[in-house]
Symmetry: C2
Subunit: 321 residues, 2 copies
């Protein structure tokens, strides 16, 4: 049993987590693509977390959080609220380790996501699709079951797990000038920035955000957590605001945040499908969209890009009207 | 300079080809997927030729054919007729080796395929979309240029190249009970069958075809090359009939040919996109469709499946009406 982390994970914390979640995650491949290198004039290395268990990097964070539970906590199980990849990640993590999982989902969640989460043996609770309703329902569930709430990003253990994606990316490439990840709640970005600075102090760490949910960009500028006033981006994994923990890490460790338009996200997503033959979700395309739309910042560089996931509604592709 | 092959490639021929095309092809990954294993009750190993250069296995055959050219032939260049992956493979092969490529394409070919083939520096010639018009135009081009016609499949050198996909698949897995590939003109199937029987004499080699272009199935039954009377399958890479050379190899070496419906192809394709996050073209889904629709022949087996390519029109997905 490892004591719970009280501060941003150190290199040793991330390494320990990485070693101990090996059996719960895939070491996903790093892929490159000559034609995208030509288009960008850069050398791009894509970390394919779309091939991760449950189809997204979130398995890393949930697996990591479970490492820090006491025996009593393990017996009571895990809880979270999410309509997306984090719900499936918590459900899978619990199932693989013989724990119970209690997941609060908005009753408007797509049927396949509900089915997938149920498929991992989780008990589901439905609520209205507001932050308040979710939190209230979650509090009820936690009060009744004693389960441990696994926050999707405002949690150092989760951040340590998400850091392992960039750790593998760095280990499996031969030196990078830039590492870039998308920013939603900031868990992946925080982990990516920490490990990149530990392992490659001279490399730049960039974040990328849809312009219409540019809370991280504005937060870093103003020096406090800003919130989004609209969330209608196609990049549904990036609608969340930063938390105090992720804001603190990102504002110290991330060198620059780029914002991109919806059209740029769609074009970048399509290019990756077409040239790399990879199914990725819109959120995954945001860093590559930043590379395409800010060429002067990237040309000639060796760039590690985290493709965060591939869970997309195949019935509704954004370029098909 | 290697003498031209006068008979089906031996193990030594295929190994020599494989060694000598290394710099022209990618060694593509073999991927597996827990949820597809669960659905089928089998262990599936997918050889991802959608990640091959030009997005399909055809690069192997064209690269192989180029190895057997005389100096005079190399100077005169390569020619072929194709609206699809073979055209791009021949064009790329020529470009990489400083040869000229002359490609005859139907004037109805999709703009992206025309652009891609031109992008590899080939000279294009357009004709009506009939077999006769293509052949006539090709003969004109060959007569004028002296270029060597690289047939897409009725060519032992091409067959030897296509065999290298299954060779890598077998080398990168730990024993297979079954290897299965789709059958169009039969070049990939012939190469796959030869190398599989050389390396794993006890393994079964299966072919898979869309039911509405089941010429190979009927040919093996009747003992002579049968032709398709309709070609309106979604699996556009598999509309071609066998040739004498491929029929001869397939009728001796392939243990069984399965046929599948269009609906089964679409479902199999979608499952691979959804669960494996791989963009594959419809032809690639045909062997997996056979596994899904003939469970008794596959359950409990270790199965190598060749995913042939990923060049698909992203504006028109078959499950979106």
């Amino acid at each position: 049993m490892k004591p719970k982390l009280q501060s941003p994970p150190s290199f040793e914390d991330i390494s320990w987590v990485h070693q101990n979640i090996q059996s719960l995650i895939h070491r996903t491949p790093v892929m490159s693509c000559e034609s995208l290198n030509q288009i960008t004039g850069a050398q791009l290395f894509f970390k394919c977390e779309n091939f991760q268990k449950i189809g997204a990097f979130k398995t890393r964070g949930a697996s990591s959080a479970a490492l820090f539970l006491t025996e009593a906590e393990r017996k009571a199980g895990l809880a979270t609220h999410s309509s997306g990849n984090h719900a499936q990640a918590v459900a899978l993590t619990a199932q693989r380790q013989g724990m119970k999982a209690y997941i609060v989902m908005p009753d408007s969640s797509p049927a396949p996501k509900i089915a997938a989460t149920k498929g991992y043996g989780a008990e589901l609770f439905f609520c209205e699709n507001t932050i308040e309703a979710r939190q209230q329902k979650l509090e009820e569930v936690v009060a009744r079951t004693g389960a441990t709430f696994i926050h999707p990003f405002d949690d150092y253990h989760v951040i340590a797990g998400q850091a392992t994606a960039a750790k593998e990316l760095i280990e499996d490439t031969d030196g990078l000038d830039i590492v870039i990840a998308p920013i939603g709640g900031g868990g992946l970005m925080s982990g990516t920035a920490l490990i990149s600075k530990y392992l490659m102090p001279k490399a730049k760490v960039f974040g990328a955000e849809p312009r219409i949910v540019d809370d991280a960009f504005r937060s870093v500028k103003s020096g406090k957590v800003e919130v989004n006033t609209r969330i209608d981006t196609i990049a549904d994994g990036l609608r969340t605001n930063l938390s105090e923990k992720t804001f603190d890490i990102i504002s110290r460790q991330v060198d620059q945040i780029f914002t991109v338009t919806e059209e740029e996200i769609i074009q970048a997503m399509r290019l990756i499908w077409e040239r790399m033959k990879l199914v990725i979700e819109p959120s995954s395309a945001v860093p590559f969209a930043a590379v395409l739309s800010h060429p002067a910042s990237f040309r000639g560089q060796k760039i590690g890009i985290i493709l965060t996931g591939g869970n997309v509604d195949l019935d509704r592709l954004p370029w098909i009207k």
